[in-house]
Each structure stands twice: as structure tokens, then as C-alpha cells.
Subunit: 394 residues, 2 copies
């Protein structure tokens, strides 16, 4: 009838069950931001590919520089220079290849052209100065991107810089969602007596998108067993993970629980977190089933603290332990929960944590206002100035 | 010939020129994540809309509870209860309206049903217990979302919870990008002598997407004035902001500078940041023009530190001053730049900052490896353990 787990136990238990996606596909760079890299990427070239100029200026042979010298060639970026003739210099621009025989670049601000066209310099250059060497930044064969990372803009620029037009990425995790309850009405519709708006749909779908999932929104089903079973089968056919809100506590009206048990298997927990507590994990066919609490704040916090790491590992990401920042409280909290870890909704202002005054779980106001959660241990009280564990909500 | 500005001066100068978008449109909740809210949102209803049960259990009148009592009605969520008959209790479920006359809910775990169907309780309830009051979370008329914020999943759930199907959002900022240089080759193509891959395109476009911009990628143009002028006119016709990489320093080969000056106006700066330095701001028609340095690392860091706040304010967001975390260094740095603010590419590991060993600006390796920047003042050296200003790269 429900196992009671600590926050850490529940997190570890879920993570153990997150089988990372394995098959991969080549994804073009312009589609790859936010995808998870399936294999390490090795450079197949040197970067830069040739010695080149770090400046707009003049390529010189240091030994020649006793007097003003004539300019024997002009080397814009993208051109192929000739060998530098003895006793001459080359006009050169940033990124342009260094002419064979030149051993330094002098920036143009340190050059003066005489009336005869010869150029003299206000400095004595060191050999190698203002030259970027071939392979200095990336050597042929070097691993430049590790598997299991979510690809960032900089990663894609890096891949492009070595000529890769695509990268081996894991598939996007497909997450099906549906929403249950006779009392739910879609926003924009009039509200009848005893009805409430379906708010879970409108935070859950974008929150899953932000994590990098493909979301399959199967809509709303009333409190009835057969339609719920049908929706579960539909969801399992198209998704890697099924997420619902509500219908998984121990009350009689919870058809989701009965439907998952009929179509697969289900473990119900109580997790010692507040807001939160009821959480269900199961399997329907080959899909994972996650049942979030129906209360929006409980569901939101449970997604952030427990389900997000599960989904991230399921996507193939390396998931580190929760990394809390240590920040001072600008508030007091003297109503600790004796048995549960509490996640207070807070906002970081000028390096301090401010508390949303109403921490009740009835409405998402606190979550909309907050930019993060303070993770309190069971029984922990807070005095202003106490150092607290702050988890940013991305 | 280029004004030299400090980092803070350049940031403030750019922000002053960022005219926030003004016209707005109603955007359905399912399309609104990441959009900027144009007007404050006031609640037009109470939340919750009626007193309701916080538990699965029994709705009772506390004064009646001397003995075991019969269950006179059953109130699932979404139903409309009758007034509670004196001397009876109501079976009730989470979220269901409280029957008139009931003044507390007792959780089902504290109830025992006898063989006669009457229910007795192991606790003495307090009036009001386990009841969520109408309007307790949001009162009719309350401002729930402030203008100028980027809409998050929680904001959308909150809007849905009060029945709003759409929100007044500013338009998505349209940013046109193009890339210049005879030496540039697209990744996947063979590289000729003196050529390099166009890496700027592949980090800049997704970085702008991540900021919430619509990106119009106008491709690549060679080092020639007329095609560059045409591209600028095309860009100004469709975009709010034009961003290019390269072509804006003082060298002769910089056709972008000449093209912007011919089609509009341009201010060239040297900004005392490293990597970075050259930056251009101008106007072409009604569009802003931003010229990033052509070096990928310089361009990337300049986008993160200077252009991102400009674009955010241009999008209509409230842009706070850069909020640095204060974190200890796990490295030493004894090569400070005497005159420029330096942005070192670092990674946060177990609460400490690790340095990418090659801080040269030749390649995006450091930016791909890093999760943030350390902001050093001119001349600042670093010893292990020093507290540093860390800017996360989102």
C-alpha cells in the first residue's frame, strides 16, 4: 500500500530504473542543439589547419628587419601565400596563412609606410609573435566532445570548426502525457460547480519540452477505467515514458492506478518530500510509467526534484548528484516538517534567498514567482542569514 | 577609428539603445513558453474557487463527533455536494468541494468503519483542518504575473489554473544573421588551402534560439561590398536586429563596415574585454546592427557578456545587472591583462571553479568545455581558493 522512501532513496531508486536510450542517428548541426551526444567525437584535422596571423599587419622574417622593407605580396584571409622573398615583408590580415619563410606578424598599428612604399616598424618582433600555430587548439585525433552530454551552441560551433556537418545523437525521448479527472475543464471554457481548470497540462508539457523531450499530449480522460486503460495502451505504443498527474494515491477514485496495474505493473510510494509525497512508477509494455501527484505544486516540485533526473538519465545524459548552491536566507522558517524533506519556493535577490510567503501547495503562484527551491532536511528551521541549499529551477 | 570602452560602459551604452518591442498579441498557452509577457495579468477568479478537501477522507462537523457516525453522502472531485445532514459524515476525496455544514476533513488513515457501516476516528479534528479555503491561494483581482517576464512552465500552469487560455505576449524578436569572408567553407565540404570552416554560424544561430529569438539565417557572403549591402537591406526588411560575425575591425578587408556605413550608420568600438575587443553597433533602416568579432571565441564571449543583455531588453525583458556567483578558484592565473576585463572559461565542479587549460581564443574548445565565465578585473591575478565572480552560461 505504498512504501515510504526518503528523497535520496526515491531519487536513487528511480535513477536505477532509467535505461538510457541506445540507438543513435546522425543529426545535422542545425538540428542538434539540445540533443544528447551518443558517441565521443574525435577531431580528424588540426585546428588551425595552417599557421595563420592573429592580427591585421605585416608578416616578416625577424632577421631581415634592420631597415624599412618593401611589401612583396598581400595575403588576405582565404588566400594562398607565396614564400616570402628575402628582404621583403607581406601585408597580411587576421586569419590569413603565414607565407613560408615568415616567422612573425607585426600589428599594423606598429607600422609606418614611407613615401617609397617601404614599411618600417616601431617594435622589434619576437619570432612566433602573433602567429597561431597549426594544431595549436585542436590536434588531429583528440577527443573534443564526450558522449552523454547535451549539445550546446558552443559544441556545435566546435564541431563545425573541424568540418563536421552532423553528429551522432541519441533519439529525442518521447514522453506521452495525459490528464485524468472528471472535475477538469480546459482553460477558456466556463467552469461549472465543483470543477477546476486543468493547470497540470499547461506546465507539464512545456517543462518536458524544456528538458529536451518530445511531448505527445494525449489529452484528458474522465475518471473511468476502460478509457484510461485504452489511453495507456495508446501511450505505450508511441512513447518511451508515460507521465500523468493525479490518480495514483490510495483513494478509491484513482482509476489510473487500477488501469496501470491491469495493463502492466505499478509501484506506489510515499516519498518523504513536501510538497509531494505520492509518486508512482510502473511499466506499460516497454514504456515507463510515472504518476505525479495531482496537486499542481506537488507535481511541479516532484518533477523538478525526482522525475527530471530520471528523464535526463533516460535521455542518455550523465546525471550528477543534485548540486545545491549554498546561499544565505533572507527569511525565517519555524514550521519545519518533522519527517519530510521540504522544498521551499524561493527567489535569489542580490545573493540572498527570499521566501514566497504562501508555501501552501494549492496553487502554482509560489512556483511561478520562484526561481529555485531551498532543500530543507526534516526538522530544519531557518533563521535569517543561515546558509541554505538552493537548487536553481532551469 | 574606434572608441575604447570598459566592459560596464559598453554594456550600459548598448542597453540604452535597446528599444523594447511594444506591440503585443494574444498567444495561446501552449505556444507561450519563453515568450515575454506584455501586460500584467490579474486574476478574475478566486483560487480555489470553492472550499475543498486537501485529503481523501471524511468531511465532518466537529461538534457531531462524539460517537461513530454514518456516511450520508459520497463527494468525489468534480461533484456538487448536498448540505451535510446533522449527525452524519460525508466520504470525500482530494479536491472535492466541502459539503455546506461540514467544518473539517479527517484523513482516511485515521478512520475505521464498523460492521454497521458507521465510521469512528482515532483523532479529534480541529475546525478548518484539511480544508483549502476559497480564494486562499489567489484572490479575485490580484496581479499574478508581472509584465516584462519571460513566461515559464509554472507561469502557464498558473494562468491555466485561473481559466486563461491565452496571454498578452510581445512578438518574438526577429534576428537576421549572415556570415562574411572569402575564406569560409560550410562544414561537410572539403577544405581548400587557406580556407576555414564557418563555425560562427553553428554556434550563433542556436545561441540566439536559446535566448528566445526567431533567427533568420541569410547565409554566407564573400568579401565584396555590393552583395554585402544587398544582404543588409534584405536583413533590415525582415528583422528587428541584424547580427554578423567579423568584418568590423579596422583592416582594409572589412567590407561589412563599409556596407553598414553606406546603408545606415555605424559606431565602432574597442571594448576592454578579453576575449573580445572589436564590436560594432549601428542602424540599417529601422533595424539594429550588431557586429561581433569574427574570432569564434571572441564572438561567443561578446554575445554572452554584451549582446545577450541588449537582445533581452530588446525583447522586452527586464534585464538585471549581471549577477555573478561568488565561488572559489581551483586554479591559479598569473597572466592578467593589465587593461582589459578578462572572461576565463571555467567549469563548476563540486562548488569550485576549474579552468580550461588553453585560454587562447583560437578555437571554441574552451567554450564547449566550460559551463561559465569568470569575470576578472584588469590586472587581477588568481590564487587557488580566491573568491571569483562566476557567470553561468545558460
Amino acid at each position: 500500500m505504498g512504501i515510504m522512501l526518503s528523497y535520496q532513496e526515491a531519487r536513487a531508486w528511480l535513477l536505477e530504473r532509467a535505461r538510457p536510450l541506445r540507438t543513435h542517428q546522425n543529426v545535422s548541426l542545425s538540428q542538434a542543439c539540445g540533443r544528447v551526444l551518443a558517441l565521443p567525437v574525435q577531431a580528424g584535422v588540426d585546428v588551425p589547419p595552417h599557421d595563420n596571423s592573429a592580427m591585421d599587419g605585416y608578416a616578416v622574417r625577424c632577421a631581415d628587419l634592420a631597415a624599412a622593407l618593401p611589401v612583396s605580396q598581400r595575403v588576405p584571409a582565404g588566400s594562398v601565400p607565396l614564400a616570402l622573398q628575402a628582404g621583403t615583408i607581406a601585408r597580411i590580415f587576421t586569419g590569413a596563412p603565414i607565407p613560408p619563410g615568415a616567422d612573425a606578424v607585426i600589428m599594423q598599428e606598429q607600422a609606418t609606410a614611407g613615401e617609397d612604399g617601404k614599411v618600417s616598424f616601431t617594435v622589434v618582433p619576437q619570432p612566433g609573435q602573433n602567429i597561431r600555430r597549426r594544431g595549436e587548439d585542436i590536434a588531429n585525433g583528440q577527443v573534443i566532445l564526450e558522449a552523454g552530454k547535451m549539445l550546446t551552441p558552443a559544441d556545435l560551433g566546435l564541431a563545425a570548426s573541424i568540418g563536421l556537418a552532423s553528429l551522432p545523437a541519441l533519439p529525442t525521448l518521447r514522453v506521452a502525457v495525459f490528464f485524468t479527472g472528471d472535475e477538469l475543464v480546459e482553460p477558456g471554457q466556463p467552469l461549472g460547480a465543483g470543477q477546476i481548470y486543468n493547470s497540470n497540462r499547461y506546465w507539464l508539457v512545456p517543462a518536458l519540452h524544456k528538458l529536451g523531450c518530445e511531448v505527445i499530449d494525449l489529452g484528458h480522460v474522465g475518471d473511468a477505467l476502460e478509457p484510461t486503460r485504452q489511453l495507456l495502451r495508446d501511450a505505450a505504443a508511441v512513447a518511451d515514458v508515460i507521465v500523468t498527474c493525479g490518480g495514483v494515491s490510495v483513494g478509491e477514485e484513482d482509476h489510473v492506478k487500477a488501469a496501470v496495474e491491469a495493463e502492466g505493473e505499478l509501484t506506489l510510494w510515499k516519498v518523504a518530500i513536501k510538497p509531494g509525497k505520492p509518486l508512482a512508477y510502473g511499466k506499460v509494455g516497454d514504456a515507463d510509467f510515472i504518476g505525479l501527484p495531482g496537486n499542481p505544486v506537488s507535481g511541479f516540485v516532484t518533477l523538478q526534484t525526482l522525475v527530471k533526473p530520471f528523464l535526463q538519465r533516460r535521455m542518455g545524459l550523465d546525471v550528477p548528484p543534485p548540486e545545491a548552491q549554498c546561499l544565505p536566507a533572507a527569511f525565517a522558517w519555524d514550521r519545519p516538517d518533522a519527517k519530510r524533506s521540504e522544498f521551499l519556493r524561493v527567489r535569489k535577490v542580490a545573493g540572498e534567498l527570499q521566501l514566497y510567503p504562501q508555501q501552501g501547495s494549492g496553487v502554482l503562484m509560489s512556483c511561478a514567482w520562484a526561481d529555485g527551491l531551498v532543500w530543507l532536511q526534516p526538522g530544519q528551521v531557518v533563521k535569517p542569514g543561515d546558509a541554505l541549499a538552493y537548487l536553481e529551477m532551469a
